[in-house]
């Protein structure tokens, strides 16, 4: 079994603020994994650290299909097989989606194959009207997510990291996105889907669910992990794995 993504002892901080405190995670090729966690647990940071955003100082290993990408720049990682679907896709005024797809084709190892996949995905996702519109400009939440899924389908990465692709969507759009993820399943692709609601899981069949608390993956299991969270929330896990409550007396002394 080849691993699409293997993360070992991944730590990351921004300035002096430690956000990831040792993440270990594996996503085999062909599987869809879900990463859940409360706000502030480090899920989005993990996405950006995997993508290579230089705001973070990161240590640890990130292997994509067996290749260590942790010293690579953002674009090199992308070409090595990392794709992030953004929670908030960036608006690029004056650049049409069609133009972006052309530039991505030029940057890809096989431009003709990339263009063929783009054409097919444009049709399945009904994206024709959006190709002549600016990237993520004046699109609804659902349209932006479809645009991200179009790019994902065209890129054909090794690991797709989908950062809260269900946020800001109405229930029909959530189902649509979930169905798209299921449709993209392939033996060559690993998917890491990040969410803090289990809503999207009603429409898909993840192979494994991981829970992140305070910068670490603290629990992994089948779909039942998500079901437990649905009924009991994150409180129990937070108590066990969350940051030590601030000792008020220590704090008081520190202020002196």
């Amino acid at each position: 079994m080849s691993l699409a993504l293997s993360v070992r002892s991944l730590e990351a901080k921004i300035g002096d603020l430690q956000i990831l405190k040792g993440v270990d995670l594996e996503v085999p090729a062909g599987e869809v994994h879900v990463l859940m966690g409360p706000n502030g647990s480090g899920k989005s940071t993990l996405c950006h650290v995997l993508t290579g955003k230089d705001d973070y100082q990161a240590t640890g290993a990130i292997l994509v299909d067996g290749v260590d990408v942790s010293d690579m720049a953002v674009d090199e990682r992308a070409r090595a097989g990392v794709f992030q679907a953004f929670q908030y896709p960036i608006q690029i005024g004056g650049v049409l989606l069609g133009e972006l797809m052309d530039e991505m084709a030029e940057a890809s190892p096989d431009a003709a194959a990339f263009r063929a996949r783009t054409a097919a995905a444009v049709e399945t996702l009904h994206m024709e009207p959006f190709m002549d519109r600016a990237v993520n400009d004046e699109l609804s939440g659902g349209e932006k997510k479809r645009s991200e899924m179009l790019q994902l389908a065209a890129v054909q990465p090794k690991i797709a990291v989908l950062d809260e692709i269900d946020s800001g969507l109405d229930i029909d759009a959530v189902r649509e996105v979930a169905e798209l993820v299921e449709r993209l399943r392939s033996p060559e692709l690993g998917v890491l889907l990040i969410t803090h609601y289990s809503r999207i899981l009603r429409y898909m069949k993840p192979d494994r669910v991981h829970v992140m608390i305070d910068g670490r993956v603290v629990k992994s299991g089948g779909i039942e992990v998500a079901e437990e969270l649905e009924s009991s929330g994150y409180d129990e896990l937070r108590k066990r794995f969350g940051p030590r409550p601030v000792d008020e007396e220590d704090d008081f002394l520190a202020d002196l």
Binding site: F83, G93, G94, E99, E103, E106, A107
Partner: protein
Amino acid sequence: MVSLKSHPPIDPTLPTWIADLQHSAAAALADLSMPSPKLEEWRYVDLGFDVGTFGMAAKGQPSSLDIPFRSEVGALAVTDGGIAELVNELPTGVSFGSVRRSGEDYVAERFGAGIPGGRDVFTAIHQAFADDGAFLHISSGTAVAEPFTLEISATQSGMISLPHLTVVVEDNAEASAIVYFTSEEDVEAVVLSQVEVTIGKNSHFKLTVVQQWGDKTRAVADVAYTMADNATGTFTEIGLGGAYSRIRFDAKLVGNGSHMEIVGAYFGDSDQVLDYRYFLDHIGVGTTSNMFLKGAVEDDAESVFTGMIRIEEGAQKANAHQTNRNLILSDGASAQSVPNLEILANDVRCGHGSTMGPLDKDQRYYLMSRGLDKAQADRLQVKGFFEEALVKVPHQQIRDELRIAINDKFVAAQSEGRV
């Protein structure tokens, strides 16, 4: 050499309306010298040359046009001030040619009337020495869809040329023109141009300037619009070339309900100075204006934008907006952006916005996460930045040409490691 202080005897063969202009401008010129950066209208720039050290160019005799887009209906070439009509199948109701050859009264009335000859040393030199110009006249009720074209070029180093264009659009008429400013690289010329536009009631005139001066040419352009009731004026400038290139633009929205639309895109490199001074005067009731300029500078280039919107006391219900956005692509480059409002009426809507900074980091991150390398991502961002202005260029025929010119300029900067 031009003597700024003693004007040569006025040519007795000149029509009186040109001779009179020369007389009064020559008198004003005697008291003028190179403008000081202490004057508000010349603040922020070091002109870096003395016009008094240049001679007056002999008029050229253009025999061809060297521009990417040439009108089928009317095209003039103006080389070192010498005018040739090179394509002239003018529609009914249109005159387009040399003011001297026309001899029409309406030309005599308007020639030189839009720009005060004594405003500064450059307008004074222009009016003291110019003895011809191009004019475009559109009669009442005439509408021409295709733009007229003019290629204005300078070929003589060390010399001053004085191109002049007078546009008169009568009532209920519609027309447009594209002006190319060109010179070869290394031509150290000074070009002092004047463009004056009068737009009649319910009429629409669009002027687009494509500024591609060579890297050693210095150019000071004065442009003035005057608008009657419900007239619409459009002025677009794409500024790419020149060692120093300035546009001083004045619009007088005299007529009630008149509208002025201004679009600009400019891109400076090496040690270019691009200098824009816009003055819009809202005089009539319900007058509106919209100004939208985008500029980029790299290497040691400098740009200046100052915009003054004045709403006169009687100009109630005026609505005016100005936006200037700047990209600073290298550490040595700089931009000034100074939007101003002066409002004397009490029932108006005005707004202005100005930004400057490097390429957006989040956009770069997003594009690179799609596999684009930094150079490719930057190119796309620059394209996107200018696109917002380029889509407003009124002539679809030249938009692609401008996109290519801007992209080429940025790619050259990338390949030489300046950005």
